[in-house]
Symmetry: C2
Subunit: 384 residues, 2 copies
């Protein structure tokens, strides 16, 4: 098929920030794009050829949207999978496939998939209701502490909690969940794998999440991770194996733990461009967004290596600030070497809301890390 | 002024490819943009917040458009300058200024400006009508060969001709023109200077145009130029001095000749992002488009150095092909290391029409140059 012609149409389910960054690259290749999103204010609305407002979880809406396009992809997992199944049967190319998406949407199913495919992950138990966890503890089938994860609709730290005592269960959603063994780890890593509809695969360098020593929040995504080549290789192999097990087409972001004894365990996966790959825009030969497009269109994959070291800092709303947003000291950080802010354009800030990200690139990763800290200490996302 | 808020509006005169690439960066910074263009099919229409169709040469159209924005810039020189003058008087920030634009729009005025400011350029004579050239030759005031240049509205090689014999004058436009001494040169170079509304200046590395040995057409833009550090320094100094002489704000692309005896002469300038800077998207720490926005908004300028070596190849329509465009072997070039095609989305090709460009980046510039040649030999822009 000739993608570089007006006959071809690419559909994207979801019109958020990831979709927006994806669209920069469709413009570069002059690919005709249609976007479906729940909100008329979706950031992707600018830069797509055709925007449709509609419910991403509604069968008819997704089906009717998908019928208009040749290739359909997502930038958010919570979409109607039944509609995708029907579209696939009727010849629309859907990447990720309905089957993969269904297997990933539910974290219990995701974990069972790893077990079935001999992919390393922390031991866990699955529960249909939260109340069953209490029963399991009572009868000795589960012991504290453990990590509770909602099976569905968790995002950005929502839907995950370390349970150290019974009372920690009090405020949790009552539905399907898993209890995962709490495994001490040295590093939280991630690897993005690109796999094209022609079967070509490439992995990006391993990235490392550096946590704030007290707040236990990811402060920096560092690429490449400061780990041994052996551990990096193992992490890339696990990620590649995961992508192949899913027979996945497009990007698969694989979040990993490096345990104290250098085992690599899969935490979770996302079948799309991912927060852990934002630094690829400035640091890599091929950004994750361009790569996703190359992969789902069956174009040759681009070079995944870094041109320079890259660090990503999330821009989140400051505590105690709710209201119309103001970016304090943004000019200060723009004066620093190799610093690019990405402002998502949300009008209102609130504590910890993700409002943008900043990339810092430098030939020397240690220098980039120092500048990243200056960035973090300078910019504030506050209310006006 | 807070640019990162919905109160601020940036206006762009012209909605072509340069505007489109400029808009990617306004989106990254979430800057509200308005675009005026003659055509409803303008590539910038997607990705701006507000699109206005209207004649860029019409006083009222440009004035009314400009009144709606805080900062006004251009992506094409041929706009109504009287309207810009009135807008400036009424407080709109116009970059480039009406005065600079007026001085640049007319090539005779441009050349006189260089003389007045001791900026090096090839000797020339100015003529109100083409017929005066013949008179000058007749009375010995001008001798063949020389370079004829139309004073106004030349573009892409149009409006420039080497006159070796009287009959070469036959088909030329009859209006205002200059006759420039034909000076043999070793290299055609270009330097982009960024100068911000706060007076900060930065120059990009010197680029080199490599010509086809027979066709006398620019084949490759190579960054950095393969010239001595002394010549590079001299070229950057001339470019910087030119930008300062114009008191210019924004990007100024300065096209230069390196003569046989290593003099640097100004050929012409463009007060905006420029074809000679397209490789900055992939090769530089800061793309020329982001830099133009930083400059006109008075934000700190970004690093102009290369991350890696960059080469740009123009994608022009093949000879003997007119009609709906097809990009032959685009997948072949996308499989090559560090190659990014930029397709402009024009529906129809014709011989030598500029249909896009391809960037090739590599740590090693010689390798990039080899790959660029493979690109050039592979891709064909033909009709379907």
């Amino acid at each position: 098929m000739n993608y570089f012609s007006s006959d071809f149409k690419l559909g994207i389910l979801g019109g958020g920030q990831l979709g927006k960054m994806l669209l920069y690259n469709t413009r570069k290749f002059d690919i005709y794009t249609c976007v479906l999103d729940n909100s008329n204010e979706a950031p992707s609305r600018l830069a797509c050829n055709k925007f449709v407002k509609g419910d991403l979880m509604d069968f008819d809406t997704v089906y009717n949207f998908g019928k208009q396009v040749d290739v359909l992809t997502i930038e958010i997992e919570n979409v109607n999978v039944q509609a995708l199944e029907k579209l696939e049967k009727e010849g629309v190319k859907v990447y990720p496939s309905a089957k993969t998406l269904r297997g990933i949407q539910n974290k219990a199913t995701q974990k069972l998939f790893y077990l079935d495919h001999n992919l390393p992950t922390a031991p866990f138990s699955r529960f249909a209701y939260l109340s069953e966890i209490e029963d399991a503890i009572d009868n000795g089938g589960l012991s504290l502490p453990f990590v509770w994860k909602a099976a569905q609709f968790g995002y950005d730290g929502n839907g995950v909690k370390i349970v150290r005592q019974l009372s920690d269960l009090n405020d949790l959603p009552k539905g399907e969940c898993i209890a995962e063994q709490l495994i001490p780890f040295k590093n939280e890593l991630a690897v993005i794998v690109a796999r094209s509809s022609r079967g070509e695969t490439k992995t990006y360098p391993v990235v490392e999440m550096e946590f704030h020593p007290e707040a236990n929040q990811v402060e920096y995504v560092i690429c490449p991770a400061r780990i041994s080549p052996e551990v990096a290789k193992k992490a890339q192999e696990v990620a590649l194996k995961t992508s192949e097990a899913y027979n996945h087409i497009g990007l698969l972001a694989v979040e990993l733990f490096q345990t104290e004894d250098d085992q690599i365990l899969i935490n979770e996966v996302a079948p799309r461009p991912h927060n852990s790959g934002h630094q690829t825009i400035e640091a890599s030969y091929t950004s994750q967004f361009e790569q996703h497009i190359r992969a789902i269109l069956g174009l040759p994959l681009g070079n995944t290596q870094n041109k320079v070291g890259g660090i990503m800092v999330n821009l989140v709303g400051a505590e105690n600030h709710t209201g119309p947003v103001k970016y304090e000291n943004i000019e200060t950080i723009m004066a620093m070497e190799g610093v690019t802010p990405h402002i998502y354009g949300k009008k209102e800030t609130r504590p910890f809301r993700k409002m943008g990200h900043v990339t810092i690139v430098n030939e020397n990763l240690d220098t980039a890390r120092q500048i990243a800290e200056e960035v973090k200490n300078s910019i504030k996302v506050i209310s006006q």
